[in-house]
Structures are given as structure tokens and as C-alpha cells.
């Protein structure tokens, strides 16, 4: 696992060197006012969330307090409490941290698997590609939600890490397909043929020639994916297969809204989390769209 997570490193380094990848993206991002505002908002949110969660004691937050069940927002509980008398604000902060971490981890893991698989399948083609594509086809056929539910039921120790792993096991296929398609296209370009005629070994071609050229598309895809992955556990939580309650997450908070009373009368329990998800997703989406434009422009540039 560790190796795979570490894989994308060359992308970063290679992309660093090229002014036309990250720096153009950055320029485009800064020029797009909406994206810039989004970036700032997102950074502030993340800063607060990760910063504050260092000082918050998770044990203390998920401690039930029957004297304070469903108390509305007050000076003591900024966003009130839930049905266990637990502080919603604290849960929001830690939940946002967990949800974002989960989203990020899923994005990175699926990205790494997708990258390796996609590159190998796309570059070598032939039977390797065939086998990999069959596997991917198969996974795509699997009824995702259903299998996840089954998985969740059989995993004994169910926590953030297992959740990430289960999700990742299903979600890498899309990226693998995308990267394979791009690799296939890239492989046809003459610079790859050139490298071959120059005697460069395949693995070097894949890592140092093709990969850097996919970096922008990968970054864009991962960014847009990140948005989706942040909310991913909320639906499962609603069905009762999300994270255990002792691990606060935005999904848990949002899913409290399934209690009609909470939905209608106790807005402070679910609304802040919903809004936070919305805002984060919007921000990331806007950033992603800006990056996408940047990536396109670069391609036009040649």
C-alpha cells in the first residue's frame, strides 16, 4: 500500500520542473476570480478545521451529556448539541477533518492505483491491457452500493481506515480508465517512439516521459473527484452503513436529518454540516474547473 501511495511523487517533481504545468495552472487559478475566492475560502476552512481539531479532544466531544440533549446554539455550544447532548460544533470540526481526510485519502489511493494500472494497461496494450480492462469492466458491473453494504457488514474492525480501503477498492476503476485512455493517446505520440529508438527502457518511458504529460489531467481529475469523495460517506451513513458514530463525520451529522424532528426543528444539527459540504464541494469544483481550463489552454499551446 505504502509504495502505491508514494508512487505519484514523480509527478510532483517532474511537474515542478516544468513551468508549463503547475505554474500555468496556478496562473489560471489566480486569474479566475471565482476560483481564487474558492481557493481562499477552502484554505481558510481547512486551516480552521485542521488547526482547531488539534486542540479539540475527540473523546470529550463524543461524550454524551443527557442534560444537554438538543440544546440550541448558545455560548457554551456554538452550534448546539445533538440527541446525545454532544457538541455539534466540535463534531463539525472533527467531522469536517475526518470527511476531508477520507475524501483526500480515497482520492489519492484511487488516483495511485488508477495511475499504475492505467499507465501499465495503456502503455503495454495487448493482453495486459485486455486482462486489466476485463477486470475493470467487471468491477464496473458490480453494484457498488450493494457490495459496499455487504462489505461493511463483514468487516470486523470498521473505522476510517477500513472505510477508505473499501471505497478505494471500488472507485479506482474510473481513474484507471481515464488514465489508460490518455496513455493510449500519449503512447501514439512520437516522443514515445523517439524514446524507444533511443534505447530508453519501458519503465523509464512510462515514469519519466508519459507520466509528466498526464499530470495536468490527473490533477484536474483528482480535484474534481475530491469534491465527490468528501460527501461520499454521508449516503452510507444515512443507510446505517457509514462510519460509527464515535467517529464524527459530516455525513453522520447530515444524516441526523433523517429524523423528521431534527430536519424540521433542530436545524443546528444538520444544516451547518450540509452547508459545509456544499461550500467545500463548490469551492473544490470551481478550483477544478479553473484547473481544467488551464489544462486545456496548455494543450492548445502545444
Amino acid at each position: 500500500m505504502k509504495i502505491e501511495v508514494n508512487r505519484p511523487a514523480p509527478v510532483e517533481i517532474a511537474a515542478e520542473k516544468s513551468p508549463s504545468a503547475l505554474s500555468i495552472m496556478w496562473r489560471e487559478l489566480v486569474r479566475d476570480r471565482l476560483a481564487l475566492v474558492s481557493l481562499i475560502i477552502l484554505s481558510v476552512i481547512l486551516l480552521i478545521v485542521y488547526g482547531a481539531s488539534i486542540f479539540l479532544d475527540q473523546e470529550e466531544i463524543v461524550k454524551v451529556d443527557f442534560l444537554a440533549i438538543y440544546s440550541p446554539p448558545s455560548a457554551e455550544h456554538w452550534l448546539g448539541t445533538d440527541y446525545g447532548g454532544r457538541d455539534v460544533f466540535g463534531q463539525l470540526i472533527i467531522g469536517a477533518r475526518n470527511s476531508f481526510t477520507i475524501g483526500l485519502a480515497i482520492t489519492l489511493i484511487t488516483g495511485a492505483i488508477g495511475l499504475v494500472v492505467g499507465l501499465v494497461a495503456g502503455y503495454f496494450g495487448g493482453w495486459i491491457d485486455n486482462v486489466i480492462m476485463r477486470i475493470i469492466d467487471f468491477i464496473l458491473v458490480l453494484p457498488f452500493l450493494m457490495l459496499v453494504i455487504v462489505f461493511v457488514a463483514i468487516v470486523p474492525k470498521y473505522n476510517v481506515a477500513t472505510f477508505i480501503l473499501i471505497m478505494s477498492a471500488f472507485l479506482w476503476t474510473g481513474k484507471a480508465r481515464l488514465i489508460r485512455a490518455k496513455t493510449l493517446a500519449e503512447r501514439e505520440l512520437d516522443y514515445v517512439s523517439a524514446s524507444k529508438t533511443l534505447g530508453t527502457p519501458d519503465w523509464k518511458i512510462i515514469l519519466f516521459q508519459i507520466l509528466p504529460n498526464l499530470s495536468s489531467i490527473i490533477i484536474v481529475n483528482l480535484t474534481l473527484n475530491l469534491a465527490g469523495n468528501i460527501g461520499i460517506e454521508s449516503g452510507l451513513t444515512y443507510l446505517g452503513f457509514g462510519l460509527p458514530e464515535s467517529t464524527p463525520s459530516l455525513g453522520t451529522l447530515v444524516s441526523y436529518a433523517t429524523n423528521p424532528d431534527v430536519l424540521q426543528n433542530k436545524w443546528w444539527v444538520w444544516l451547518p454540516a450540509s452547508l459545509l459540504i456544499l461550500v467545500m464541494m463548490l469551492c473544490i469544483n470551481f478550483i477544478g474547473q479553473a484547473l481544467k481550463r488551464a489544462a486545456d489552454a496548455r494543450q492548445r499551446l502545444g
Binding site: 453494484p143 453494504i149 455487504v150 463483514i154 443507510l239 430536519l263 464541494m281
Partner: protein, 322 residues
């Protein structure tokens, strides 16, 4: 064409086989079985009888024997017996599948009914306020969890405004086969279908929009303009038809998504369909139902992708499947 479909079906067989093994193993790996905890509600039960029942249901056989038996039966069209419902799974599903298909079809139709005009407006008049509105909607829709949205819809339109019924698939008091019966079905369908569609549609809107924007600048559109084709016709005959292609290809994957979405919608709107049945069966470890449902949705997905390919080849002359 026929050959192509046949080949695709042949390819499906090993996939389904794998799927069946996987789902069977997973089902067996889940803690508990259909009889676990039954007794919490039935304290008079005696353990020996319990064992006897397990034996009778074949739950004590080795997994591979169970699997082979299951596959054998399945190939003969027998999906086994639902323990909780005391009914053959085929009968059970037959009673529910109609509702889910109806709901999914309604969602699909609504989704496209919403997506196509909005996508066109937003793709054709980019950067106008209408476009910005639509794009804004699509972003928000993208970020809103289906179940929250459905709940809000339920409370607003079902309860506060009282426009739609809030549960079930049909009113019991209407005579089956009459117009009132179908109207009642439609009435019960509207709210869940609309909730699903409004969320479902945003992806297609975004896709259609960017597709139109891309097509707008293609050379053949220039050719058409150079022919003196009026703007309306340019859109209608040239840009839209080409932009719809990838949307058509989406259809198959839409079906997969609908299966997942139905779990939420059916449970929120108490709409008795397969999604709800799945959840219930998982909880109750009604394996025969769980496995049957997973297999069915696997087949549905495969058929969906097949359908996509067929549709695509029907509308795109460049793709010929022989």
C-alpha cells in the same frame, strides 16, 4: 447486430459467473444468517428446532455445495426461497420489480426532460444569466446528498403543501385497471421520481453543456453556416445531434446509478421496490434475496451498457456493430 449482441452476452457470462461467486462468498461471510436473532422476537423457539430449520434450509452445508445448489437452481430460473417472506424469491421480486422499474423509468424520463432543455439553453447561450443560473443549480445539485434532498421534498410537497402522497405506490381504494388507478400510481410516483431526477440530472446538464460548447466550434458547424443554414437549424440539425451522442452513451451507466439511487428513494418514500427490499434483506440476512438482487442489478448494468452501445451505434453511423 445480432451477432454483436450475442457476443456481448457471451462475454457477460464469465462476468456474471464471477459476480455470482463473489456475492455468494460475501453473503456467506456476513455474520449471522436468516435465523439469527429470530428468537429475540420468538422466545418460545427451541434450539433443536432451530437446528432442524437450518438443516432444512441447507445453511449447514459446506459453502461450495450451497453454491453449486444455488447456481443450479438459478440456471433453472429458481432463485430460491426467501426465508423472511416465506415465498419464492422470483415471486417476491416479481411483486416489487414493477415498482422499481416504473420509478427508474420515471426518473430517467424526467432526468432527460429536465437535462436536455437546460443543457441546451446553458450550452447555447453561455455566460448569460440563464446559463449562470443553470450552472449554479448543477453545482448545488451535485453537492446535495440525494437523501437530504428527497426528505426536504417529502416534507415540503408531501406534508406542508400536501400536493403528493407521502408513501406507497398506489392508493388501495382505487379499482385496479381504472383510470383512477393509473392516476393514483402516477401521483405516488411523481415525488420520488422528481427528487431523483432533479439530483440525477445535474451531471447530464453539465455534460451536455460542455459537449455543446465543444461542438459549437467544430468545422462542420462552420460549413453549415457557410451554407447559409439559419441559426436554429444549425443547432437543431448539427450541434445538438452531435452533442447528444455521448449522452446516449451515458444511458447504460445511468441505469447502474438508478439502482443505487432507488435504495434511498424507496426507503424515504416508503415505495416498495427492490432497493428497499435489498436493505431489508441484508439486515435480515435473507441471502437468497440479497444474492438474487445483486445478480439482477449486475445483469441490469450489463444490459445497460449493452443498450448504450446499441443506441450509440444506432445514432452514430461511424459505429457499426456487425
Amino acid at each position: 447486430m445480432l451477432k454483436f449482441i450475442l457476443r456481448r452476452i457471451l462475454i457477460m457470462i464469465p462476468q456474471l459467473f464471477l459476480l455470482s461467486v463473489l456475492i455468494f462468498l460475501l453473503a456467506k461471510a456476513m455474520p449471522g444468517d436468516a435465523l439469527t436473532g429470530q428468537l429475540a422476537a420468538n422466545p418460545k423457539m427451541d434450539p433443536q428446532t432451530l437446528e432442524e430449520m437450518r438443516e432444512k434450509l441447507g445453511l449447514n452445508d459446506p459453502v461450495h455445495i450451497q453454491y453449486i445448489r444455488w447456481v443450479k437452481n438459478m440456471l433453472q430460473g429458481d432463485l430460491g426461497l426467501s426465508y423472511t417472506h416465506q415465498q419464492p424469491v422470483t415471486d417476491l421480486l416479481a411483486g416489487r420489480v414493477g415498482n422499481t422499474v416504473l420509478l427508474s423509468a420515471a426518473i430517467l424520463v424526467l432526468t432527460y426532460l429536465i437535462a436536455i432543455p437546460l443543457g441546451i439553453v446553458s450550452g447555447r447561450w453561455t455566460d448569460t444569466w440563464a446559463d449562470k443560473l443553470i450552472v449554479g443549480y448543477s453545482y448545488i445539485g451535485y453537492a446535495t446528498p440525494l437523501f437530504i434532498f428527497a426528505l426536504i421534498m417529502l416534507f415540503v410537497f408531501g406534508f406542508h403543501l400536501g400536493w403528493f402522497p407521502t408513501g406507497g405506490s398506489v392508493d388501495i381504494q382505487v379499482e385496479e385497471g381504472t383510470l383512477a388507478y393509473y392516476l393514483s400510481k402516477l401521483n405516488h410516483l411523481m415525488l420520488p421520481a422528481l427528487s431523483g431526477a432533479l439530483i440525477n440530472t445535474v451531471g447530464i446538464i453539465q455534460y451536455l453543456r460542455s459537449e455543446i460548447i465543444d461542438t459549437k466550434v467544430k468545422d462542420f458547424v462552420k460549413t453549415a453556416r457557410a451554407k447559409g443554414v439559419p441559426e436554429r437549424q444549425i443547432y437543431w440539425r448539427h450541434i445538438l445531434r452531435n452533442s447528444f451522442l455521448p449522452i446516449a452513451a451515458f444511458l447504460g451507466y445511468e441505469i447502474t446509478g438508478l439502482i443505487g439511487g432507488s435504495v434511498f428513494l424507496e426507503s424515504i418514500y416508503s415505495y416498495p421496490g427492490l432497493g428497499q427490499l435489498f436493505l431489508q434483506s441484508i439486515m435480515q440476512r435473507d441471502y437468497s434475496v440479497v444474492t438474487a438482487l445483486v445478480m439482477i442489478s449486475g445483469v441490469a448494468t450489463l444490459v445497460g451498457t449493452l443498450l448504450s452501445d446499441i443506441i450509440l451505434s444506432a445514432v452514430d453511423p461511424r459505429i457499426r456493430i456487425e
